[in-house]
Symmetry: C2
Subunit: 102 residues, 2 copies
DNA sequence: TCTTTAATTAGAAGATTGTCTAATTAGAGA
DNA sequence: TCTCTAATTAGACAATCTTCTAATTAAAGA
């Protein structure tokens, strides 16, 4: 439903790589963060964006958080781009009042 | 090649809608801009991003610029996400030196 | 050449993003 | 309860994005 969040999530190479790693199976936040040239808190922010886009799901296991890929939404989003409907029918810019931003 | 630019281009709803409209066939910048709640210069900036991502091609016709969808690259990018390789093999964060940004 | 139409580029301002360090939350175990 | 490990949230700051108005470029026609 939140197509926009999905595409924003996919817009960053680190997040796409996170998804790529999850294809092999679930991973803890720590394992997932290993190998990236970023601090853990920075990685955590990327995880959050993926969660909010519902591209991954989380489950606690002791002190660890285990991330898992939610492939179906990803596929939906991409199918949406191929038909380029974005889930809707019309545009976001349907009526032109030139509202300007302030 | 520039997968990153493709995904950044897809990250904005206005640009996805532009692509959607181009599916019906080529359109001039002016026609393409009609119906969006943005000024022409703002639309022009979106066009530019799509050109830079190579998602559209342009051709001049008198005083008009005619935009056309470049579907193949779009399909490539999405196929890339489904296999989640991003065109490469490994990650961007291959070696972890925690380089920090300044 | 001058004017008109179509579209872009330039420059500015506000909002958002990405990153860091520091502090906090949550569970496990002694 | 205290401590340790795992991970997140908070706050700050630089860089990028989005939008605007104003100015510029390009082609066509009188």
């Amino acid at each position: 439903m939140a197509f926009n969040q999905v595409f924003e999530a996919l817009a960053h190479p680190v997040r796409r790589e996170i998804l790529a790693r999850l294809r092999s199976g679930p991973l803890s936040a720590g394992d997932l963060a290993d190998g990236f040239d970023l601090t853990k808190p920075s990685m955590s922010v990327h995880f959050k964006k993926l969660r909010e886009a519902d591209l991954v799901s989380v489950e606690r296991q002791g002190t660890s958080l285990i991330y898992q890929l939610n492939m179906s939404l990803l596929e939906e989003a991409l199918a949406g781009v191929l038909t380029l409907t974005d889930g809707r029918g019309a545009a976001d810019g349907g009526t032109s009042t030139k509202g300007k931003h302030e």
